[in-house]
Symmetry: C2
């Protein structure tokens, strides 16, 4: 398990489309898979008007975000964890820009955009164990 | 987006090894990728003695659990969401059984086992859109 720097972690996050956002909803932990973009170091997610995530964003609450690429066969890969404040993107030009860049995966009204500004960023790579000091192939 | 029944959702969860647990840690949302087993309808996770997850389990707190298999190219697959109470497995025989069944992915002391008893289970499949009523191939 090798730790990643903030820059490495955000770069890796930008190489995948799928992540999971976790937040507190009515005093209970909640988690949702979403698709994202990383734009200038921020995580951009589309959502619909009645979503619990949008509710959190309207209150500028802290959420957690996670993405990974882990191969269950080789048990190698990486995981990135972000904690940051979610806010609704209200500016019309920004909204149009992100709506153009990020296509929702499900057929639903997904007219809202939430920005997560990373505060704490961590991550690691899972690498193969070397046996007796000999690196794995 | 087609909703899954509780039974279908837990069955799918049992077909994968990797999931993400979300919980509240020091009043902030936290999320961690973990590997799991589904045993008799419960989610079983190994962890280490100092983990935030174990801390939640010692308090029998509610956590959220998510697993998915979504193909970013075809945008099809499934996602399962569980909310349930986490507790530490304290019984020595149970502990030994789960430690035998579940191998940690990382090299670390992972002597503790947490059981998540699903209370709310939901899930969906992402299926391809039919065009003009004609099913996709």
């Amino acid at each position: 398990m090798v730790e990643l720097s903030r820059v490495e972690a955000l770069d890796l996050l930008g190489t995948v489309q799928l992540g999971r956002v976790a937040f507190t909803d009515q005093a209970l932990p909640a988690i949702r898979p979403v698709n994202h973009l990383v734009v200038e170091g921020d995580i951009i997610v589309r959502t619909h008007g009645g979503s619990a995530l949008l509710g959190r964003a309207l209150l500028s609450e802290v959420v957690a975000y996670e993405a990974d690429e882990i191969d269950p066969v080789t048990r190698t890969g990486w995981s990135v964890l972000v904690t940051g404040t979610a806010t609704r993107v209200a500016d019309a030009a920004e909204l149009a820009r992100y709506q153009g860049l990020l296509t929702p995966w499900i057929e639903a009204e997904m007219g809202q955009v939430v920005r997560i500004r990373p505060e704490i960023v961590s991550g690691y790579r899972l690498v193969r164990k070397s046996v007796s000091g000999v690196p794995s192939p």
